[in-house]
Amino acid sequence: MSGAILAGLGIYIVTEARGWEYLGPDGPGPGFFPLWYGITIIVLSLVLVGRNVMARASEPAAATNWREVGRALAAWAGLAACVGLLKVLGFLLAFALFSFFLVAVMYRRPLAPSAAIALGMALGFYLVFPVALNVPLPTGRLGF
């Protein structure tokens, strides 16, 4: 499976690389290096796919625990939502919401302590970065 995706990436790299000069008047062009590692990716990923097919014939692969993957992907979706909200809400609000999501939803902590932790996180980051260290955080439409 991952082998097939990588083979696809390799094919993409090689097609792109063929669009660039391989050898220019001054020496190797921009297509020189990508062409070679692209080809290597294709070859190695096909070997991987081949090996997996052979292995699967002899013993069935372990089933993926989709519940676990689901949890990780949910956390990632929360992160992506947080990043998306940075532009609108600013770091402090978006991050507080994300922390609340992690604590209350992902770890099923009671609402009140979750909210306290989320607010504490935002406050802590505010005190350490913009106040103490002068590092600007992303600000939103609301101005902070």
């Binding site: 000069e21 220019g24 062009g29 990508p34 692209g38």
Partner: protein, 503 residues
């Protein structure tokens, strides 16, 4: 050369109360920015530059250099505790440092990192003081074919970083090469793999990928199970927070290895501290009596890269001070500072301003001692962060990663890239692809392609230039040898099996 006399005068300069004070300010600030991911010494020095116009130049360079080498000390802290590389050079420290922390040995890991930094940092200064001019001349004899061979040697380290499957490690490395190639081609200004985004014209910042793949990938994997997010054990008592004699004994060679490799690679203008730490980790593993233990939390796996990235500082100052040639982003801004103060960095600077050079050297000895004294008591303090329950610790890691990446470029696009690489890191963990080779390919890819193309331009397309020069030929030979070892091992295993069956 009257080194003792010069050094005596240097200490007289460095021990003036004002200079001692600025040295402390420098190393203190350096430690802090080193601890914070993203925020690096180059940006900090630029920020403080206006202040230095009111200072005398010797005090100013003492402080700015303090920030530079101080940041290398702090870089290991988040690598070990949170698997978030604090500086680009500390990625390698994550490999064994974070594993040690997982086993409840965060304190010893931090202690080893501080001691390795001290030893190698001091060796770097000694070397800077004694051998700077000849080493700088040696560095000039290094040309593109040698750089290419060095990068190949570095890339061959993939064999040592591979986990269960060498094939997957190689694929991860190649993807790293691909990511390194994104952006504008230096030679022809062709844009490659930018998908039409102006943000990608300069490629993807190394820190974004490293934090995404290491820190976020790890956290996401840990979040798979609510109950699985166990707390890391933090033993009580000061004794358990410091390295044992056995740890230090295990690290004897790593201290030396890190010091020497870090300094030599630091002198080369075209290589950097990240490459130095990778190579010294690889060498340490290659000569170790227990290579199979690397990556599971051995102290020498922390000591070698931490030593290398500190001793690299002394090395990087060699071409800057003796030739006026900057070898890295941070030395470039230091050089700019010297120019803005009205000094003339170049081959004659040490001769023209001996008190500046020797004062700086002496202050670096003092600064390294200060850093050790400053960092050791901080260890128990930092280790406390692991006492946080998982549901509170993970938001901290996410937050630090987001801020760290944003502070590098101030661009939200990079924060999106961080999220994407976090997902990639998680997927790689699920599918048993090791992350280290990807980072290795990313670090070396750009420089390797460049060196290869420069070499071929110099030779008008003759590949023989790569092997016709003794230094590059030797390194290429070593690289091939390294790549071939797994094949030998496999062949040997088959042979042994065949013999057994024959019996």
């Amino acid at each position: 050369m009257d080194v003792i006399g010069h050094l005596y005068q240097g200490f007289a300069v460095a021990l003036e109360p004002a200079n001692l004070f600025w040295c402390f300010v420098g190393v203190f600030l350096g430690t802090i920015i080193g601890v914070l991911p993203g925020l690096g010494p180059a940006a900090t020095i630029a920020m403080l530059l206006p202040l230095t116009f009111q200072m005398n130049t010797t005090s100013a360079i003492i402080m700015l250099a303090g920030i530079y080498y101080g940041s290398k000390y702090g870089g290991s802290t988040t690598s070990i505790l949170l698997n978030v590389p604090g500086e680009s050079a500390s990625v390698v420290t994550c490999f064994d440092g974070y594993q040690m922390a997982k086993q409840g040995r965060a304190g010893p890991a931090l202690g080893i990192a501080a001691i390795a930094s001290f030893v190698a940092g001091t060796v770097g200064v000694v070397a800077l003081m004694l051998v700077a001019p000849p080493v700088a001349r040696l560095a000039l004899s290094f040309s593109s074919p040698e750089y290419f061979a060095l990068m190949c040697l570095g890339l061959a380290m993939v064999v040592l970083l591979a986990g269960a499957s060498l094939l997957k490690a190689l694929l991860a490395m190649l993807v790293g090469l691909w990511i390194a190639g994104m952006g504008t081609d230096l030679f022809t200004s062709t844009s490659r793999f930018t998908f039409g985004h102006a943000e990608l014209l300069d490629g993807i910042d190394f820190v974004v990928v490293a934090i995404g793949v290491f820190a976020l990938g790890e956290v996401l994997a840990n979040m798979e199970m609510r109950g699985g997010a166990r707390m890391l054990p933090v033993p009580k008592g000061l004794r358990n927070l410091l390295p044992t004699w056995q740890d230090l004994k295990d690290c004897r060679f790593a201290f030396l290895n890190g010091s020497v490799i870090g300094f030599l690679i630091g002198v080369l203008p075209g290589a950097g501290s990240t490459i130095a730490s990778f190579i010294s980790y690889g060498v340490e593993k290659a000569v170790s009596k227990r290579p199979e233990k690397f990556g599971t939390g051995v102290p020498e796996g922390v000591a070698a890269p931490e030593g290398a990235n500190n001793s690299e500082t002394g090395g990087a100052l060699v071409p800057m001070l003796t030739l006026g040639i900057p070898g890295s982003g941070t030395t470039a801004i230091l050089l700019a500072a010297l120019i803005l103060w009205g000094l003339k960095p170049g081959p004659l600077m040490i001769q023209d301003n001996p008190s500046l050079f020797w004062g700086l050297v002496a202050s670096m000895y003092i600064g390294n001692v200060m850093l050790l004294v400053l960092n050791l008591p901080l260890i128990p303090l930092f280790a406390q962060i692991l006492r946080l329950p998982a549901y509170a610790l993970y938001p901290v890691i996410f937050g630090i990663s987001l801020v760290g990446v944003y502070s590098v470029s101030g661009s939200l696009f990079d924060v999106w890239m961080l999220a994407a690489f976090g997902l990639l890191g998680y997927a790689m963990r699920r599918l048993d692809y090791p992350a280290a080779p990807l980072i290795l390919g990313l670090v070396l890819g750009d420089a390797m392609e460049r060196a290869l193309r420069q070499s071929l331009m110099m030779s008008q397309g003759e590949l023989s230039i790569l092997v016709a020069r003794p230094v590059s030929a030797t390194m290429l030979f070593l690289a091939v040898l390294l790549l071939a070892t797994p094949l030998f091992k496999k062949a040997n295993a088959l042979r042994v099996k065949a013999i057994e069956q024959a019996d």
